[in-house]
Point group: C2
Chain length 251, copies 2
């Protein structure tokens, strides 16, 4: 529709610019305005034209960031007919990206939107770390969970339901609660020897991974000094990570 | 490494060629040999050079397809130093794609491999159908499950663990078992009024979606005549699909 103001809610993928989608790349190269999160890599930001307006809205754990309401307000303000506004998010806009909150807000203000799905961190970070999320005989399903709650909130997952054989668990934004996550899962009956990994800066040359098990993962990660952004992967499939380490072998 | 035979295990994404990754597109355009599944769309196959050798290895539910062992064997046979062999799979190679079985087989035969993650069907098909997989207050996690078992196999999921509030359920390849899936979930305590959808040919101009609830989804899908390939999405987030239908509005 000509003359309609529109915002593109675009997934930037997990970090490696090669994992942008064709549509995301095209929109970034055409952007007049870019509104982006901290998790978006510099390599990707470089694809945007010099002349484009850039607005960083933060979202690093523990640091000062704009409240979601403020981001929503900024998007409405920047949208205008004929202006290519790209709201760029790490991973996929609809997997822990709060893209749908922004979409609803835009709609409520008469602004159109399009979603450009991205490769979500769980699939790509795991694959680059040598871990398939499903594998016959080891995992026939996968579950993505957020480990991020407000500081005053307990991790109130139903741990009995999370502790399930043949289902790979992936925690986004969970590093700050790693001890609690591993402890709860073992209490809920998951074997302490269940293979488990933390991957920092996945899919990039700065990738670091710690392969361990539920009992030892928190200590091993502290020892290695890993920090956010990091992904936690738990399940039998992690045992394949040494054999299938195609990316680490190139680093 | 020069002179090393290598196979690229590439995710083709959910169907829309615009959702290929930049790396997948580059590899397809450089392919000497393409080994692909039925789920890969014609638009994407057209990107491969005319001169490339194409091997279709099937994988449509219920039809005759090559056994996995045969596919593994073909990949080993086709790999050669200096030859760009692309093993193209719908969605992501490591999410119900059996890519890791192929990777292990290649390794065992001294052949290198690289994984090129793709946008998995769950995220993109849902997004194009207006459904965010997570949304504050409605879903703080998502679970991908396969509904595909051998004909003589029961659907032996732990339904009590699947039936969880605030977790979106996505069934891949589950249409043939839709009655059983909905029935088991209600028996396990999930409200019969839980919003639920089936989407056929997601992300393409042939997209069709049925929005319903657990109690009525099987009958509604039969009524509409939807067929595989289709994705089942269950959870409170499905209630947003009417409001957030940006793609359907363009069709």
């Amino acid at each position: 529709m000509k003359g309609e103001a529109k915002v593109y809610l675009v997934g930037a993928g997990p970090g490696d610019p090669d994992l942008l989608t064709v549509k995301a790349l095209r929109l970034l190269q055409a952007a007049d305005v870019l509104v982006y999160d901290r998790l978006v890599s510099r390599e990707i930001l470089r694809l945007v034209p010099e002349a484009a307006t850039r607005v960083c809205v933060g979202k690093a754990p523990g640091r000062h960031t704009l409240p979601q309401e403020e981001i929503n307000r900024i998007l409405v303000e920047l949208a205008a007919p004929g202006r290519c506004v790209v709201r760029l998010k790490g991973g996929d806009p609809y997997v822990f990206g709060r893209g749908s909150e922004e979409a609803l807000h835009l709609l409520a203000h008469g602004i159109g939107f399009e979603v450009v799905p991205g490769v979500t961190a769980a699939t790509a970070v795991a694959a680059y770390a040598g871990i398939p999320l499903t594998h016959r005989g080891l995992a026939r399903g996968v579950r993505f969970v957020t480990g991020h709650f407000r500081d005053d909130e307990a991790l109130d997952w139903d741990w009995d339901k999370l502790a399930e054989a043949q289902t790979t668990l992936v925690f986004y934004m969970g590093l700050g609660r790693l001890d609690a996550i591993c402890g709860h899962l073992v209490e809920a009956g998951m074997p302490a020897a269940t293979p488990a990994a933390v991957i920092q800066h996945g899919t990039t040359v700065r990738q670091r991974r710690v392969l361990s098990d539920l009992a030892h993962l928190p200590a091993d990660v502290r020892q290695a000094g890993l920090a956010s952004p990091a992904l936690i992967v738990i399940g039998a499939v992690v045992a394949l990570a040494e054999s299938l380490d195609w990316f680490g072998a190139q680093l």
